[in-house]
Symmetry: C2
Subunit: 330 residues, 2 copies
DNA sequence: CAGACGTTGGAAAACGCTTTCCGGGAGGTT
DNA sequence: AACCTCCCGGAAAGCGTTTTCCAACGTCTG
């Protein structure tokens, strides 16, 4: 293990000088000594010990990213956006997946705090359980008191800078668009009720229908994934249009309808939410609400890194996109 | 910033005792002192400083993961597998995406070396450029000399433990299965030639056709993603069956054929490779070669963590799955 | 030419933890 | 009762950096 001291000795300079040459400092070092140090470092194959550096500097070059599920393209897209800005700033990314367990989220924040990461990004819907939120918040406050920075993609419930997709509005506009096609009888393939994002989408959709004087939709709950969409869709009947609260559930629904011999969109229209890139080529192509996922990741990390941070809310609105999976009625 | 010393003072014990209580040690500590320390730590809200711990211990609890592209479900699936084992061992994961740039891969290994991560996992096809491979290898050797452990998912070109999907065999078996359906005129939607995985798939497929005495396939190159598949597919004609070297390219091809009014599988059969989970619900469902992606991630990290490591090769074979996108001829 | 100033190099004190030694007391054995 | 062991607590020496002083040496300026 080659240390900075080895390099300094080999170059015939002091530790201080070697440090200044190799690990960026404001101080100048004379050209000849600088060259000697660089040569010695190259010859010895010196690699900075980041742990020592972090300890001495009191600040690391790592950011923490906590997502629900990396195999869900929704999170992968957001994470990718965040990672691009991290990369551009020379930061490494430490990542954790909670698999939607709020306890794991809290545990990760604690671990990332111990790692003294520069910033933590919490990506994914908050939960309705106030106790979990409180505990997470306590942990975050603790982290922030010691200089950590935090941002969130989801809902602003933690008192930190947050990028919030306007789920209610997006769902409401989707409802209006769908009603505009002539649909009157809706079912919603809802996610679990303890996750706020899917719940907001259900409420926004329902509220818009009510405003339009349309009958209340039938709400069918399922898990927030493809299987949940499939399961919920098996119970659908007597309806002309189905809103799945995200695209992957919509995919499940399409599969279920196919298996049941129900044609989309001839027999029933289906819409999703998120506009997952990998799913753009579905047949029939999926009507949905587009969210700028990568941008949300970018924006969130920018917020987290911005020293002016507090508890700002940056709302991003979705764009309704009608494709083949929904069709007009008469 | 609460330090261990603060805790020790508050508890009225020595630094050593506090350390032993809070950060797992082989040494026993008496019940009463232990309780005092735990109480003090809780009261003060102590969080271990991992950088200091890493420095003192000379070993970190982080592993590094280098993938080409996280938004590609292929990598997301493998990463997820690896992350599950990391989690089960109490390890954090530091992740980097190269976007298929071999230089970035080398840079990441260097950075991860500086971080003194416990192990590095390189996920993704190696490149044909021997110079890049050599430089990466040098960097890896350097890392391993200082005690780092390495594993790779791809091809065993780096002298490290490697999980290698048998791309040639998988492609060959796919070719035989497709020929068994009666196809004789093939096109291959190939990836870039400088990536070994897609190249091997092309070669395996071609070799199998030759063995069967069938005409050589037409090879069309495109980028290793959806767009590449689309672009290559626009040039296809006079062929009954198309093999896209991975599923996302196949999706692009399906889209291209749809846009051109060519029906799949009636007019042309299409097969992919990988069996991406998110794509299971395509219509028509995609014939492909299934790779146990998550398992590959699990296995690779296990290899990396296994102290007996060297340059072992663990081959995983794909399983041909014929679905609706390919049909029998006559 | 003396004094002020700016620049560059080095010594040494942190940074927060782990772990090796050492010592003292309790318990067991002869 | 003397001797050995264990067991547990503490002192202190690292771990590899950064950074604050301090000293020495030009270079200007009046």
């Amino acid at each position: 293990m080659v240390t900075l001291e080895d390099v300094a000795r080999q170059a015939g300079v002091s530790l201080a000088t070697a440090s200044r040459v190799l690990n960026g400092s404001t101080r100048q070092v004379g050209a000849s000594l600088r060259a000697k140090v660089e040569l010695a470092a190259a010859e010895l194959g010196y690699r900075t010990n980041v742990a020592a550096q972090t300890l001495a500097r009191g600040a690391s070059n790592v950011i923490g990213l906590v997502v629900h599920d990396l195999t869900d393209p929704y999170f992968a897209a957001i994470a990718d956006g965040a990672m691009r800005v991290a990369e551009s700033q020379g930061l490494m990314v430490m990542i954790g997946t909670t698999h939607r367990d709020p306890q794991r989220e809290i545990a990760y924040v604690s671990t990332l705090n111990a790692q003294r990461v520069r910033a933590v990004l919490l990506v994914g819907s908050r939960v309705t359980d106030p106790e979990m939120t409180r505990r997470l918040r306590t942990e975050l406050d603790h982290y922030r008191e010691s200089g950590g920075r935090v941002a969130c993609v989801g809902q602003n419930l933690l008192g930190v800078d947050t990028v919030v997709p306007d789920n209610r509005l997006g769902a409401a506009e989707l409802a209006r668009a769908l009603a505009g096609l002539g649909h009157r009888n809706f079912a919603i393939l809802a996610g679990p009720d303890w996750l706020i994002a899917p719940r907001d989408r259900v409420e926004g959709f329902g509220a818009a229908l009510e405003e339009l004087g349309l009958p209340a939709p039938r709400v069918l709950h399922g898990s927030f994934d493809r299987e949940g969409g499939y399961a919920a869709a098996t119970q659908v009947s007597g309806i002309t249009c189905v809103f799945a609260v995200n695209d992957v559930m919509a995919v499940g629904a399409l599969a279920a309808f196919r298996d049941r011999g129900i044609r989309v969109p001839e027999d029933v229209s289906v819409a999703g939410f998120d506009d997952i890139f990998t799913l753009r080529d579905l047949v029939p192509s999926l009507s949905t609400v587009r969210l700028p996922l990568a941008d949300m990741g970018v924006r969130a990390l920018e917020l987290a890194l911005d020293p002016a941070g507090g508890s700002r809310t940056e709302t991003v609105t979705g764009e309704v996109i009608l494709r083949e999976s929904t069709r007009g009625l008469g």
